[in-house]
């Protein structure tokens, strides 16, 4: 069974059609890349999958783990293992990273009818997971994304993903704004989370990330439709030739 099936998806924003008959099929354990020029609708797809308001689905359907996704509340999608690493993670002043993480983790636990973790147990669980990200000591006590650099925000998204262990992770430009070193760390983090059951959708402009996290498929999104599918070589071609020849 596919973990995700998007069939003939049409989405408008403020009555302007953005996605126009998008098709996408993802199997468990697969990593797909979605590439495309600015404004082609990549984030729109990510947001619709996560259940954000302000997007009108005018036609099509989405199945997630065989279930009708569009009728689910955003928090239920999250608890069912759908995770979105935001292109622009928002700041939440006064709320520490550890507090959000713990509340989120325990919401997942309740949904799975597993016991909640207290502060001590959760700290231990976190420490195990966060070593690889080389976060500074005070990271967990800092307010969510407040005053974070672009790169720090992206690493924070990855940290949340490590803690919540989703079945389907949508990473919206997780590589943008990262220097070479930071990119390597983020790529290593993503690879560490790759396994036979977890699927990922990597949204990116650049093949750099894909060279380090080789996808099973590369889709090119232009004008609200997937216009081309291929392997990693397609990403290289796009870097050389741009998107112009595909219009």
């Amino acid at each position: 069974m596919n973990i995700l099936e998007v069939r003939n998806l049409h989405v408008s924003v403020m009555n302007k059609p953005i996605l126009r008959g998008l098709e996408l099929h993802l199997k468990p354990g697969e990593v797909h890349a979605i590439m495309g020029p600015n404004g082609s609708g990549k984030s729109t797809l990510a947001n619709v999958l996560a259940g954000r308001g302000d997007y009108q689905v005018t036609a099509g359907e989405i199945l997630y783990q065989g279930q009708e996704l569009l009728s689910m509340a955003p928090e239920d999608r999250a608890r069912a293992g759908l995770f979105l690493a935001f292109q622009n993670p928002v700041e939440i002043p006064g709320v520490s990273n550890v507090r959000l993480l713990k509340e989120a983790f325990n919401a997942h636990q309740r949904y799975r009818r597993l016991p909640e973790m207290d502060a001590m147990a959760f700290r231990a669980y976190l420490n195990e997971r966060t070593k690889s990200l080389e976060l500074s000591e005070d990271w967990l006590l800092r307010p969510v994304n407040a005053g974070f650099s672009g790169g720090e925000k992206k690493r924070n998204e990855l940290l949340q993903m490590m803690v919540l262990e989703p079945h389907l992770a949508i990473l919206d430009e997780i590589d943008s704004g990262l220097d070479i070193d930071a990119l390597a760390k983020v790529a290593a983090g993503i690879n560490a989370l790759r396994d036979t059951k977890r699927s990922m959708l990597l949204i990116t402009h650049y093949p750099r990330l894909l060279e380090q996290v080789p996808p099973d498929k590369v889709h090119v999104l232009i004008g609200g439709q997937i216009v081309l599918c291929g392997g990693l070589d397609l990403a290289g071609q796009l870097e050389e030739r741009g998107y112009g020849w595909l219009f």
Partner: protein, 481 residues
């Protein structure tokens, strides 16, 4: 679901302290005149000077008019329609052994989470429990007395420590200070008295828990805290009332006095009944709170979390008289449905090198109305005075409002006064971010609001910051459709 429906459904509230205790009470007939004041004074068997003080205040009050300069709006208060004294005890019985207290009364406090039996009470917190017009129990008194700390009801203080009370009562808030303070001076029935001797650091939190139970009564309590030289005390007050259709008046006065090198931390978690979703019922909370940093290097801080009342009108202030004295005001005020809050502070810099900090967080939801009103006054002699003020407002929904009325008067050119203010709406982006991490929308609203208030909440003593967080959550809770 869009932003406004999430917010609207997440903020409908349920008031958990709205029950009524059935208890026989000694309630005097509604109305106010000199006879009523004499009656209250005689019921309390107070020293002679108090009756004279009350009558003078009453005569002064008769000549005053109710103030309407604030932004709160309400129908005229009928001062003859209020009973000014209600006691759960029989006539002339003003204190009672805990064993003899009506079990219904003890059960009330248990239900509120404030057990009056010392063996069950929170470790490290001494409580004075005020029920309608009288103090029903004061815990841990003996232990405190060993350190020379006086912690008792105002009635007891007037009988046992009359001279000390007489010396300080009204020295910070004079009996004719303002309309509501004058009314309080005339009819106040009980409250808490604390005295911390020189050099003593009070080893536990002192607290008063105010409960209005009887219908058609007002609660008029008066609290006086004196911290003698180089002493320290942290004090907390909490308050609740039953759910009733009629508005009830609460007009309290709190006076704080900090001598040289002393520090008083005064925290309030105010959860009076706020009225229902249509604005019926609820407490009118008109309170005068003022502290005086009388001695050099003395410190007073007010921390308040105001989530209840139909109307909140209070401006906990600090008179910074001593050299190097410091005053702080930290406030969270939440207004939902038809609640109105006009609150803030006054920092009066008289002494040299005095400093003050003001941090105000206003949250408006539903059709709530929230105003910050502040005065920072630096007198000519206050060389090197400093103030920093930060006022932040958070709006939840489209029908609420927030206003800021800061007033700054500086008569000394070496003073440094800074003011910052922000107003923001709870953002759909923040809500969605939290939901995408698995939080239900009401948990998301509560988390974001908590974050907004964090800098104030962390000023509260540990036990109470937990309570305050829960209270904010409860007052924001509701079913999400």
């Amino acid at each position: 679901m869009n932003d406004s429906t999430v917010v609207a459904s997440a903020i409908s509230r349920s008031y958990k302290h709205g029950f009524v205790t059935s208890i026989l009470s000694d309630t005097i007939p509604e109305g106010i005149d000199e006879g009523v004041i004499r009656l209250i004074s005689s019921k309390k068997r107070e020293p002679e000077f108090m009756l004279a003080w009350r009558l003078a205040a009453y005569r002064h009050w008769l000549g005053m008019i109710e103030p309407h300069w604030s932004s709160v709006r309400y129908p005229p208060i009928d001062y003859q329609g209020i009973s000014y004294y209600s006691s759960p005890f029989a006539d002339n019985q003003d204190s009672i052994a805990l064993e003899d207290v009506d079990p219904a009364l003890l059960a009330t406090y248990e239900k509120l989470g404030i057990p009056l039996d010392e063996r069950l009470s929170l470790a490290g917190v001494a409580v004075d429990a005020v029920f309608d017009s009288v103090s029903v129990a004061t815990t841990h008194q003996k232990k405190l007395a060993q350190l020379g700390i006086l912690f008792c009801s105002m009635s007891e203080a007037l009988r046992e420590h009359g001279a000390l009370v007489q010396r300080h009562l009204g020295s910070v808030v004079p009996s004719g200070d303002n309309f509501f303070a004058a009314l309080n001076a005339a009819v106040f029935s009980d409250g808490t008295f604390c005295y911390i001797p020189p050099g003593v650091r009070c080893p536990m939190e002192l607290s008063t828990y105010f409960r209005i139970n009887a219908a058609r009564t007002g609660q008029f309590e008066r609290t006086l805290i004196i911290a003698d030289q180089n002493s320290y005390v942290s004090y907390l007050e909490g308050c609740t009332a039953p759910q009733r259709d009629r508005h009830q008046l609460h007009a309290a006065v709190v006076e704080l006095i900090a001598m040289e090198g002393a520090e008083i931390k005064y925290s309030t978690v105010q959860n009076w009944y706020p009225g229902d979703a249509e604005g019926r019922g609820g407490i009118y909370n008109f309170v005068t709170k003022r502290g005086e940093c009388r001695g050099d290097r003395s410190r007073i801080s007010w921390t308040q979390v105001e989530t209840g009342s139909a109307i909140t009108w209070k401006y906990p202030s600090v008179i910074l008289r001593g050299e190097g004295a410091s005053g702080r005001f930290h406030s969270v005020a939440l207004t939902n449905h038809h609640q109105q809050a006009d609150t803030g502070t006054k920092m009066i810099h008289i002494g040299r090198h005095t400093s003050s900090t003001i941090l105000s967080k206003g949250i408006s939801a539903g059709q709530g109305h929230n105003a910050y009103r502040g005065l920072v006054k630096v007198l000519a002699g206050a060389q090197g005075a400093r103030n920093h003020t930060q006022c932040d407002s958070l709006l939840l929904g489209a029908h609420c409002s927030a206003h800021t009325y800061p007033c700054i008067e500086v008569k000394n050119h070496s003073a440094k006064v800074e003011h910052e203010a922000t107003t923001s709406r709870i953002s759909e982006e923040q809500l969605f971010y939290c939901q995408q991490r698995g939080l239900a929308s009401e948990a998301a609203v509560s988390l974001i609001v908590n974050g907004f208030c964090q800098d104030v909440l962390r000023e509260l003593p540990m036990e109470f910051s937990v309570e305050a967080r829960k209270l904010l959550e409860v007052n924001l809770e509701g079913s999400v459709g």
